[in-house]
């Protein structure tokens, strides 16, 4: 503890954390508008006012992806400064340049997409000039990361391998996502689709590698057991997961003209996920039998990790089912895919990153009273409960609606009449998820917005902080 002041490394971590959470807030707000657009009466009014899903959706997905990446980069940066000491001048300069590149890109996307300047691509809906800024930022981050971890790389824990794979995979797949700029790809729509599915699928896999690495890093720090990150089983699971990441995008291409061998490979490798499923099942069984209890009465990190494991079991089972070709034919292009994607992004990636953030905050604000009053308060517990219930409702509704639509569509029948009301539960559950996530961030905001005051409070309490904390805990 350094009095009230944050050191350089902590300042960088806080800046990244705030940027990541800023992206969540933006993504939530835009997602809330997008959910309202699904209600026909409101959607038409919005369309008449010039606000369209055409602008809202790419903004929402861009900032949701930015949240995941920035969140993982925050945890990786914390690891770098905790393991290799405070940042040097070169590190600080690169971090500044990296943040300027990403900040300019974020601002540019926020301004240009509403003006209708778009690439019209899925996930990379912004103008390619912003891709260049994002890419330069990533190159700088990769430089900082590899310059520190390359020495003794082969002895490093598994999360360093996961982050390395995530960073390199991102650099490759992000570039590949722009293959449409090449005439040979642009004029062959099927080739373009094959590459688009491949790059988008692998881009998602790259952020999964980053996030799972964060989970193992946090688990190692909490348990102080370094064997977890060095074990043969963990490395084998990393290998299976990464192999799956290369090929599993092909289960989105079962229906487009493509060599069947590629599809068979995707199918067989997807089925290897059963091994991961069995491991997750064992973990969840231990969890439910109460073998692993948190030492605190309520601990945000433990709660999010436990919830995420349960979701992982469910979503992995769903992913396996979706990878079976006849079932894939039934649900492809329906809301089942959306339910799986949203469930994975929120219940696995976001939960794990929030768990990691809670751990990092607890590390930086170690006083038990602060943790109880702000980070692990009852209000936070209620917000997490509400968030999870909203998410269960949202994902269940998307799966039911998607499966019903898939069957009706296959038979050439109109969907059942009750599905006419699809937008209402979707909007209600979507808004509930957004509301509780926003509430959680609001409850944490005293630590996030005024960390130095809280560090002072650790030594000498400040009246404003105490009253703000009291407000939060009473609400």
């Amino acid at each position: 503890m350094h009095g009230g002041r944050l050191d350089d490394g902590e300042r960088i971590v806080f800046t990244l954390m705030r940027s990541a959470l800023g992206c969540v807030v933006l993504s939530l707000s835009l997602g809330a508008f997008a959910a309202l657009y699904y209600l026909p009466a409101i959607g038409e009014t919005m369309a008449a006012a010039g606000v369209s899903l055409v602008q809202l959706r790419p903004l929402h997905t861009t900032f949701a992806s930015a949240w995941i990446f920035l969140g993982a980069v925050t945890v990786v940066s914390r690891f770098l400064f905790a393991s290799f000491g405070p940042p040097g001048d070169g590190d600080k300069l690169r971090f500044k340049a990296q943040l300027v590149c990403w900040g300019l890109a974020g601002l540019g996307v926020l301004v240009t997409l509403p003006l209708g300047i778009t690439s019209g691509r899925e996930y990379l809906g912004f103008h390619p000039v912003f891709s260049l800024l994002i890419y330069v930022g990533w190159l700088l981050f990769a430089w900082t990361f590899f310059s520190k971890v390359w020495r003794g790389f082969w002895q490093r824990p598994v999360y360093v391998y996961m982050w390395s794979a995530g960073i390199l995979f991102f650099l490759y797949t992000f570039a590949e996502g722009h293959a449409y700029l090449l005439p040979g790809v642009r004029d062959q729509p099927v080739v373009d689709l094959q590459i688009q599915f491949k790059s988008c699928g692998s881009l998602v896999a790259s952020f999964n590698q980053m996030v799972y690495g964060c989970l193992i890093y946090i688990a190692e720090r909490i348990t102080r057991d370094k064997r977890i990150a060095q074990s043969r089983i963990t490395f084998s699971l990393f290998g299976i997961g990464l192999l799956n990441s290369f090929t599993n995008s092909a289960h989105h291409t079962y229906h487009i003209p493509q060599d069947h061998f590629i599809k068979w490979v995707a199918f067989v490798v997807s089925m290897l996920e059963i091994i991961i499923l069995v491991e997750v099942f064992k973990e969840v069984s231990k969890l439910l039998s109460g073998e692993r209890k948190s030492s605190l009465d309520f601990n945000v990190t433990a709660r999010f990790v436990h919830l995420s494991k349960c979701w992982n079991l469910f979503l992995l089972t769903l992913a396996l089912l979706i990878s079976v070709p006849p079932l894939n034919a039934l649900i492809h292009g329906t809301h089942v895919v959306m339910g799986h994607a949203m469930g994975s992004e929120i219940a696995i990636d976001s939960y794990l990153l929030l768990a990691a953030f809670a751990y990092l905050l607890a590390e930086m604000f170690p006083k038990r009273e602060t943790l109880r009053a702000v980070l692990h308060s009852d209000a936070v517990a209620r917000a997490i409960g509400g968030l999870n219930i909203g998410l269960v409702g949202l994902v269940s509704w998307l799966l039911i609606a998607g499966l019903t639509t898939g069957v009706s569509r296959y038979l050439g029948q109109s969907a059942p009449a009750w599905l006419d009301d699809f937008p209402y539960p979707f909007a209600v559950f979507g808004l509930a998820v957004g509301w509780y996530l926003a509430r959680l961030l609001w409850l944490w905001s005293p630590l996030l917005l005024r960390p130095e005051q809280h560090r002072q409070w650790y030594g000498s309490p400040s009246t404003t902080v105490v009253s703000r904390t009291a407000d939060v805990s009473s609400s």
Partner: protein, 246 residues
């Protein structure tokens, strides 16, 4: 895990990645169709410029608010497609596309449709338009039937049921709204719903009202035929579903 085992693991993964990437890029299956024509390429550019993928899908890739458009040219007539592109429909905003742009976009969608099927269909599925022609036979007022087919009314309105878009059964339209009510809807559309204003002439309105009156009069048998067809489509099992291309 020992360092040498880790090196082996990484080497295997790198080889697997290179192999998989090579297989995708070297695959000739995506190049069996000729490249997009100049009009198709312009249509593709319009598709991206207007960010159509936000709401619609091609081969199941894209947003979920609107339908998959891979084979839309088979489902909707050219007139109906042009109408939607000009005036929008429901939450779909009107796009101010000139006739050349509309033709380019239609050309792009036609060329996409030729490249495969976006959604799996039961083997016995029959497009509702074809079924309507079959059911109507020679008895139905020909000009009204032709107009209904040209405007793809059955793409939204199906007998027996409200459709995916909440559009009601046309075989009961005259009973529910009366001839004048039907004319009013056909002339002005229904604001706040996907039912657009078509801009029919008086002659068109007469022809369509005649056809809808005929549909209403023969509604019972038409609904029965559609129901029987739906039942035959309803006999399916998971084993009927395709593995790869539809």
């Amino acid at each position: 895990m020992s360092p040498s085992a880790r090196k082996l693991l990484i080497a295997v993964l790198v080889c697997a990645f290179c192999l998989q990437t090579w297989m995708v890029y070297a695959d000739p299956a995506g190049r069996t169709e000729p490249p997009l024509s100049p009009a198709g390429a312009r249509g593709r550019a319009l598709w991206h410029d207007h960010n159509c993928q936000s709401c619609h899908q091609l081969f199941g890739f894209g947003g979920f608010l609107g339908p998959d458009l891979t084979n839309v040219v088979e489902r909707l007539s050219e007139a109906r497609l042009e109408h939607i592109l000009t005036l929008g429909s429901g939450q779909m905003p009107p796009f101010d596309l000139d006739p050349d742009a509309r033709a380019d976009l239609t050309c792009f969608l036609e060329e996409m449709s030729a490249r495969g099927r976006g959604q799996a269909r039961h083997a016995e599925w029959q497009p509702p338009g074809e079924l309507l022609v079959q059911v109507a036979g020679d008895d139905a007022p020909a000009s009204g039937l032709a107009l209904a087919l040209a405007q793809s009314c059955v793409a939204c309105h199906l007998p027996n049921h409200a459709s995916d878009y909440g559009a009601p059964d046309l075989t009961t339209a005259i009973t529910r709204l009366g001839p004048q009510g039907v004319r009013d809807v056909l002339a002005a559309g229904i604001p706040g719903t996907p039912m657009p204003r078509f801009g029919f002439s008086e002659d068109d309105l007469d022809a369509l009202t005649d056809f809808l009156t005929w549909l209403d009069r023969n509604g019972e048998s038409i609904r029965h035929t559609f129901e029987v067809t739906r039942h035959s489509e309803g006999d399916w099992s998971i084993l009927d579903l395709p593995w790869w291309e539809y």
